[in-house]
């Protein structure tokens, strides 16, 4: 029955002069999804449509993951003439009776094309009359109908009844670029998702300590990033071996400070990588008070290691809420695979929860910070996940 889908772009259309840029970003991402199927999207008087043919369900599944889309409506596209509309309407109502068991209905017409000869109110009445004439069993109910049949009249007329909720948010890339410090855990992939939802183009950096950690742990991070790419588009993944840094910390710094100091190294390395690509923010999956390195004192000391803007979209969330999102976006099942990341191998029995910056800096003065960072960056690995 349906041959086209009708896409509503939500808050993006409110963004004034940026609208064109936003739409362009959205179009880029959408075309990637639909190109594989040999389809294309087009605009009809400002609104975005895709003629899907037989790929209706596939296209809806695909684009419901794209940020910036608020609603998706499977539609019937017909010539914008009253005869064509009426003929299709009769067919469509018969289909709705068979498939949706409707008893009451309402007609709702909107003319984006004011040249269409009948105005919306008159058209509501006329089309309602057509339905009543053809189907004795149906009645009009304007307050609580079983179905509202919408008519969106543009160059063509689009008839639909359903609005499927899209992913919402803003198109990826419309709000700058961010480097996510991603681990194999539950939180950081959710943080990446939340930033992408607000239009941030995501790159990722992950830290390991091979051979103290497993190669499979890296593979797990890749699987998470691969999952995220469904929402975020292609993602650059940098992988950094921190082993030499961990060893130095272990040798020269107090045990209970090792987590914080390692964390500061991660931030510094991330800041360098972000600098290469002109990314304006670092993103972490920290949530206040969840573990020792995530107390307000610890976060303050960690932030002091860099000048970058550090965003923590999960900061006020409970673990259960984070898990809910992780499950929804399909990262949870990957995150709970057993391979250790570098945090767990080197974490001390009793990490500090109230570190003082001066003390940490004093401990760090025993390390050749610059040389360690250079060395770690020299051995980075890079992979583009499409």
């Amino acid at each position: 029955m349906y041959n086209s889908i009708n896409i509503s772009l939500g808050e993006m259309v409110l963004k004034g002069k940026n609208r064109g840029v936003f739409e362009q970003k959205l179009n880029n991402q959408m075309s990637k999804v639909i190109k594989e199927k040999g389809l294309h999207f087009y605009r009809d008087r400002g609104k975005v449509f895709i003629d899907t043919g037989v790929y209706m369900k596939d296209v809806i599944d695909d684009i419901s993951n794209i940020f910036g889309i608020v609603n998706i409506s499977p539609s019937i596209k017909v010539e914008a003439t009253i005869e064509a509309i009426e003929t299709k309407l009769v067919e469509y109502v018969a289909y709705l009776i068979d498939n949706k068991n409707i008893k009451t209905f309402k007609i709702s017409c909107k003319r984006a094309d004011k040249k269409f000869p009948i105005d919306s109110m008159a058209l509501n009445k006329q089309l309602g009359g057509v339905v009543l004439d053809n189907f004795n069993e149906l009645t009009v109910d304007v307050h609580n109908p079983d179905v509202i049949i919408y008519f969106d009249i543009r160059t063509y007329c689009y008839i639909f009844t359903e609005r499927i909720k899209g992913a919402g948010g803003l198109p990826v890339g419309s709000n700058g670029e961010g480097l996510v410090l991603i681990s194999g855990g539950i939180d950081s992939p959710v943080a990446a998702y939340m930033m992408a939802k607000r239009g941030v183009k995501i790159r990722c950096v992950t830290f390991h300590a091979y051979p103290f950690t497993s190669l499979r742990a890296n593979e797990k991070v890749e699987a998470l990033v691969d999952r995220l790419s469904i929402f975020c588009g292609s993602i650059d993944l940098y992988s950094i071996n921190l082993l030499e840094i961990y060893k130095e910390i272990k040798q020269k710094c107090p045990d209970d400070e090792s987590t914080i100091i390692a964390r500061r190294f991660m931030m510094r390395i991330a800041e360098r990588i972000a600098g290469w690509k002109g990314m304006e923010m670092l993103v972490t999956g920290e949530s206040l008070g969840q573990v020792a390195s995530q107390t307000s004192k610890s976060l303050g000391v960690v932030d002091a290691s860099v000048d970058a803007l550090v965003l923590r979209p999960l900061i006020g969330m409970d673990k259960t809420d984070i898990i809910d999102i992780a499950q929804k976006i399909g990262t949870f099942d990957i995150s709970i695979l057993p391979f250790d990341d570098c945090c767990s191998v080197f974490s001390p029995a009793h990490p500090q929860t109230r570190p003082r910056l001066e003390k940490i800096e004093a401990s760090e003065s025993k390390l050749d910070i610059e040389a360690l960072i250079e060395e770690a960056l020299k051995n980075k690995e890079f992979k583009k996940i499409l």
Binding site: Y210, P211, F212, T213, S214, L215, R216, Y246, K247, K250, Q251, K252, D255, P338, D340, V345
Partner: protein
């Protein structure tokens, strides 16, 4: 490459591989087919069965081919218990393979009680405990001939006598996946009901194994289909694998005794080198254990880290059974035996095979000693 994870699986012997190839190329008929080509294939199947049966002193009609150890354990346990009385009891130990313990966790009968027999710190079954716990409710007792983690060898004759003394009709199932072709198995002498056999631990192919079912014992099938394997395991026989399995058995038959001595020597060498080179080390494999398995715990390392260090030199060992070492819970067998967190974490298993040389053992031992020092330097800190 130095491969010392032979208890997980072993490299196929070239003769066994060639045989498999030959059967795929020249004997691809179905042994059940009526025509003469099918009959040729049936003869191959029959001869394979005979050779494996005679190797463990069993009759031809006591050997049933399966897809391997896990299936054989499942088939035996479910098959034995299918006809047991209500509120029966099963005896086993905490150190069995997951294909035994998990099957017992998923029995269709909810009223069966699983009773665990004590084992000592090297994984030897406490015979007195069997005498204490076996009774007229005992429907089935399940033990492993050679434990895949520790290498402990059970005295099957004593175990079966202890059980039979208490209950003549109790069934006994033995998992011989790690012992077949490595230490002597005499079906007539040990007098058990069923035994699990596996091909790929003795340089045979994967995906093939067998279940020995004593001719005086009857178990219910678990699958239904054609009448292959006398209805016990329906489905077209994997003839190439079965013939290859029999070839691996032939090879073991000719080398088993001298290999036992040679591998014992390799294990002894490694034990000596590691114990002299590393302090705070515990041998988890007892003196009487299988020469093919050496299990040790090293304090203040993680076994996993040592595995990753060695893999960079193309040396492959294990932290635990490959079937369970990827799951997040710590190795259950070792946990049960040691009950010491820091030793459990530092547990490694080295398992030998016929392709390992003395030189490889020396090289590996030296590396383990050096890497242990390096890892401890990092994990112990200053």
């Amino acid at each position: 490459m130095i491969y010392l994870d032979n208890a997980a699986t072993s490299r196929i012997h070239p003769d066994a591989l060639n045989k498999m190839n030959e059967v795929y190329n020249d004997f691809y008929g179905n042994p059940s087919s009526l025509h003469s080509f099918g009959y040729e294939c049936e003869k191959l199947l029959k001869s394979s069965r005979e050779r494996i049966a005679s190797f463990i002193n069993a009759s031809n009609n006591e050997i049933f081919f399966t897809s391997g150890g896990t299936e054989s354990n499942n088939l035996a346990i479910l098959g034995h218990l299918a006809s047991c009385r209500p509120k029966s009891q099963v005896l086993t130990t905490h150190i069995e393979h997951p294909s035994v313990l998990e099957t017992l966790n998923h029995l269709p009968q909810k009223d069966i009680q699983v009773v665990f027999i004590k084992t000592d710190e090297y994984g030897n079954v406490d015979i007195e405990d069997i005498e204490k716990k076996a009774n007229d409710k005992t429907a089935l007792a399940i033990f492993t001939h050679v434990n895949s983690e520790l290498g402990s060898i059970q005295n099957l004759k004593k175990i079966s006598e202890a059980i039979r003394l208490k209950n003549r009709s109790a069934r006994i199932h033995i998992d011989c996946a790690q012992s077949l072709g490595k230490i002597l198995i005499d079906a007539k002498e040990i007098n058990v009901d069923t035994m699990t056999l596996s091909g790929h631990k003795i340089h045979g192919p994967r995906g093939v194994g067998g279940l020995y079912i004593n001719k005086n014992s009857k178990i219910e099938p678990v699958y239904w289909g054609g009448n292959q394997e006398m209805g016990m395991r329906p489905g077209t026989e994997d003839l190439p694998s079965i013939v290859s399995f029999a070839t691996a058995i032939d090879i073991r038959k000719s080398v088993m005794m001298q290999e036992f001595d040679r591998i014992s020597h390799l294990k002894y060498m490694m034990e000596e080198m590691l114990c002299n080179g590393i302090d705070d080390i515990r041998l988890n494999s007892g003196k009487e254990s299988s020469p093919y398995i050496l299990n040790i715990s090293i304090r203040d390392i993680r076994g996993e880290i040592l595995v990753h260090f060695l893999e960079r030199d193309n040396i492959y060992i294990s932290t635990g059974s490959a079937c369970s070492s990827k799951s997040s819970s710590k190795n259950n067998v070792i946990n049960y035996i040691l009950n010491d967190e820091s030793l459990v974490e530092g547990t490694i298993r080295i398992s030998f095979g016929m392709f390992n040389s003395e030189d490889e053992i020396i090289q590996t031992s030296e590396k383990i000693i050096a890497y242990t020092q390096e890892i401890r330097k990092t994990t112990r800190g200053r």
